[in-house]
Subunit: 271 residues, 2 copies
């Protein structure tokens, strides 16, 4: 019948659009994708507000059991809820392609995403280059491609939005091999951890990307009541104590425009 891919926005249950809420309320089945981002409220709060039972979808279900969701959408109205905007991350393009191949009617309800909401930092969205993801270093797994991408942006006087790693409902390789659904505790990278990793890259690759003068803006819980925006040199931001995750980090272009400079100063960290 139909698959509604509905963005929930950034903060809580009331950030859904009126249109999105109506579609959820008329749906037969409601899924919540809960592994690429999280809201600052519980599933129960959503269920009460939307007056629906909600099934959480973890990484297993979305990748392996996607076909089941699509099978349901042939005869039923199925809502698939995603935090933020549903198509800002690359993850959900696949389910739409598959649905269209099955001639399922797909409707996308857009919403706020961190990728546009960072306008609140005062840095102009026009002046951002490529967005990068900073993954957790694990043992010898220390990918540094984000470092080179930030260099390209800085060389072109672009800001960089750094999205920080989220580990939700992940299993150890051991538990996966044994087919055990035992999940590791959730981890959300902080701005402090991200800057540590950036400094590590600088130490190893030495391309003068992260220096004493590199400026950044910590974006904490954007779109929520406990939102924080703190600007400063990366070295200063590294030792600030922030509200709980989710965190993101903007690395500022070397030269700021007038309004950008005013915002930067307004948000500046005072020791």
């Amino acid at each position: 019948m139909a698959l509604y891919i509905i963005g929930l926005g950034l903060g809580d249950e009331r950030d859904v659009s009126v249109k999105g809420k109506e579609l959820i309320e008329m749906s037969d089945v409601v899924y919540l994708e809960s592994y690429t981002s999280v809201l600052f409220v519980s599933k129960n709060t959503l269920e009460e507000f939307y007056k629906k039972n909600i099934k959480e979808v973890d990484r297993n279900l979305a990748e392996e059991n996607c076909e089941e969701i699509l099978k349901e959408a042939i005869n039923k109205k199925v809502s698939f809820l995603v935090v933020g905007d549903p198509l800002c991350a690359t993850t959900h393009h696949d389910i739409i392609l598959r649905a269209k191949k099955k001639n399922i009617n797909v409707q996308v309800i857009h919403n706020a995403s961190v990728m546009s909401a960072i306008g609140e930092s005062g840095m102009q969205l026009y002046n951002f280059g490529q967005t990068v993801s900073i993954p957790y270093f694990e043992g010898n797994y220390k990918p540094t491609s984000f470092y080179d991408k930030i260099k390209v942006n800085l060389d072109n006087n672009f800001h960089t939005l750094c999205l920080l790693d989220i580990k939700v409902k992940e299993r150890t390789i051991e538990n996966m091999m044994k087919n055990k659904n035992i999940y590791e505790p959730s981890r959300f990278m902080t701005v402090n951890e991200a800057i540590e990793q950036l400094l590590y890259c600088e130490e190893v690759l030495k391309k003068n990307v992260i220096t004493d003068n590199t400026r950044g803006i910590a974006i904490v819980r954007i779109g929520s009541d406990s939102q924080q925006i703190v600007s400063g040199s990366l070295l200063a931001l590294k030792s600030v104590s922030y509200n709980d995750p989710l965190h993101s980090l903007i690395i500022c272009a070397p030269t700021l425009h007038d309004v950008e400079r005013e915002y930067f100063e307004m948000y500046q960290h005072r020791c």
Copy 2:
């Protein structure tokens, strides 16, 4: 008392968030900024749905009479509605700075923006470089800086989002000099016009940015029921007949990823 800067999203009156709608309903005064973008419904429809009188703000009011709005916000709850996300364009950073300097409580309600909703094209937001604006050429006024910015993006294998010019409630220089509030008819640049101007830049600057092989995606009325997404070479897209504006244009990176290629083919224009 308070200034609520509320994003309305992209399509119609029901794209506002539940939270945004509640703030509008409890406001004493409601302004609608109507010169940087437009919804696909009339002011009357918004007034009926939000159960409020809405005052339209044109370019004059926002720039010259901003102080009046702020004065009201000292004693009243004032909503300032913006199509899309309120801080994606650079225009509204100024009113927030001024409000904060007056110690007015400012609350921003984010929403979908074309800058994130273009994820629906299948091009991954991570692979976009700097966004550019293409302004209408007028007589001898033919700025070409967008052409060079597109070149930087293509050289780095980034996509480019091109935002196309909108002229709403503009006055001729003659009428401005005479202080006459006579407005010119609204104009919204089409994808066809944008490609004409890109070809002009190529002809003049000859940097091999726009060639027979340059691929693009026309984004038409995104987030509305009459949305169209059409991919093809820029030369093919130039002669397609699209739905009415608003239009935007993506210029694709030279090399597409697998999922991007699948989407590109799905949306391809068939002659």
